[in-house]
């Protein structure tokens, strides 16, 4: 009888993991729609191609070696393809109380849940370098990012490995990043920042006398849909990161995480909307959308500890930060068409640093150490990778191709061939 209940708990926790993974997978659709909405229509096909291809590359490279580097699941997942029922039941029985303690679930479900996070990190890059980067240079970078760069820093954090044998973020510094404000979001933004610095701004974005020109996105309904899809997917992103559903304590923790994640997104949207209105006297929709995502990124580092009201405030501040960050990056001539570096990088850092306010056992210094480790590694490794790609194949399309739109030069097809006005 007890074994039957253990089997059920294994099934429940595995199922919960798979459903959350599927929700995170759906965030790829959110990123694709958000990015397609915020670029000009002449670059739509190419940004969509990047989004579908990077997802496939992330899934493949993480399967080949990424998961092995991060968690030791074997190259080509050789270590997780079979389950030994008797051994699983023995693991349950060996506990003092079989139902409490860490989750015991299928290794294959763990891979599925982890792999969609890799794709999320890579999705962040595509928006920042949109409208001017060569498709194949981007995809080549995606291979390195998802096979090595992300799994390395993932191993140092969630994987529990020491950083090149020097120190351990978890044991030595009490670093906490619950679902990846830093590990996923800031990491993606760091890779994006390195790419944008080497790539340069879109032509016409900055005038010769320092003026900043707006390049409006083509389809704000699509950007809004993308934001809502990301918001929904985030429940899997944070909710799944509890890792276990199958007892009262953990089931409640999952519910709290859902609640706080939603509260922070709402707070972020309001923070950005109101601040944008105060600054520009216009209700800037794109800022409000970035604000919701900023709230989500901010709460991701510790969605299980704040009260719902504090989660709202954490999101609200994140939303305000993202507006100021977007304006500041523009002044620095760092051209990011969708605001990815601000949303995921700047607010990701803020999310890590605000953890000690609500989470016991974490320190500001420890969080800073974790953030610095992730940023330095991802930025440096990405910068070198982008440099190599720049020398080998070039990162940027020609000026004429950029004017015509990368849809034609890279994909040979337009997103809306029946519209004649560009």
């Amino acid at each position: 009888m007890e074994n039957n209940i253990f089997e059920l708990q294994y099934a429940l926790d595995t199922f919960y993991f798979l459903v959350c993974g599927a929700l995170v997978m759906w965030m790829a659709a959110g990123f694709a729609m958000l990015e397609a909405g915020l670029v000009r229509s002449k670059n739509t096909t190419e940004i969509l191609t990047k989004n579908v291809a990077l997802f496939a590359i992330a899934c493949t490279m993480y399967l080949v070696c990424g998961y092995q580097i991060m968690y030791g699941g074997g190259y080509f997942l050789s270590g997780i393809t079979e389950v030994d029922s008797a051994a699983v039941l023995a693991d349950f029985a060996a506990r003092e109380d079989g139902f409490q303690g860490g989750s015991i679930y299928s290794g294959a479900s763990d891979f599925f849940f982890q792999v969609v996070f890799v794709a999320t990190a890579m999705s962040i890059v595509s928006g920042a370098v949109a409208e001017r980067m060569k498709l194949w240079a981007f995809l080549a970078f995606a291979v390195v990012m998802t096979a090595v760069i992300y799994p390395m820093e993932g191993a140092w954090t969630w994987g529990g490995a020491s950083v090149f044998g020097m120190y351990s973020l978890g044991d030595d510094f009490g670093f906490k990043d619950f679902a990846g404000s830093g590990i996923v979001h800031m990491a993606g933004a760091a890779a994006a920042l390195a790419g944008v610095i080497l790539l340069g701004a879109r032509k016409g974005k900055y005038g010769p006398n320092g003026e900043i020109r707006a390049i409006p996105g083509a389809n704000l309904p699509m950007a809004t849909l993308g934001t809502f899809i990301l918001w929904m997917g985030w429940f899997g992103f944070n909710g799944g990161s509890v890792l276990k559903l199958g007892d009262i304590g953990n089931a409640h923790a999952v519910a709290v995480v859902f609640m706080n994640t939603n509260a922070a997104a709402a707070g972020g949207l309001l923070g950005a909307l109101v601040l944008a209105y105060i600054l520009f006297r216009k209700a800037d929709l794109t800022m409000a959308l970035n604000g919701a995502l900023a709230g989500l990124v901010a709460i991701t580092a510790s969605p299980d500890t704040p009260t719902p009201f504090v989660a709202t405030i954490i999101g609200l501040i994140g939303g305000a930060i993202v507006v100021l960050s977007i304006l500041t990056l523009d002044k620095m001539k760092i051209d990011d068409p969708v605001g990815a570096i601000s949303v995921h990088g700047v607010v990701g850092l803020y999310g890590l640093l605000v953890v000690p306010v609500t989470a016991d056992g974490t320190t500001f210094g420890g969080q800073l150490m974790g953030a610095a480790t992730i940023f330095v590694w991802v930025f440096a490794a990405s910068f070198i990778t982008w440099m190599v790609l720049k020398v080998i194949m070039g990162l940027r399309v020609t000026e004429e191709e950029e004017y015509e739109g990368v849809d034609l030069s890279e994909c040979g097809m337009e997103a809306y061939p029946e519209f004649t006005n560009k």
């Binding site: 900043i212 707006a214 390049i215 409006p216 216009k282 794109t286 800022m287 523009d330």
Partner: protein, 112 residues
Amino acid sequence: MKLITAVVKPFKLDDVREALSEIGVQGITVTEVKGFGRQKGHTELYRGAEYVVDFLPKVKIDVAVADDLTEKVIEAITKAANTGKIGDGKIFVTNLEQVIRIRTGETGADAI
């Protein structure tokens, strides 16, 4: 014969077409165009940065007419397209050397 080219506000196109039909104009050609005059463009705001819309959308109407109808056509367009506000557009009149109806080969005023 004259070729009358009028650039007007897009929302006035229907009024102009009706006014021309009433005075016996048999055909017009309409093109969506963009441009600027003394009205200039206007500025909009996106993510905190202003951008100037330099070229405003207008509709261009081409009408070929016999000499005796010229003044009536100009009057009809002027009346129909007038809002009294800046940006109402312009009418250009040019001499038209020849007109040929492709189907029958008729030429001159008969072909209009």
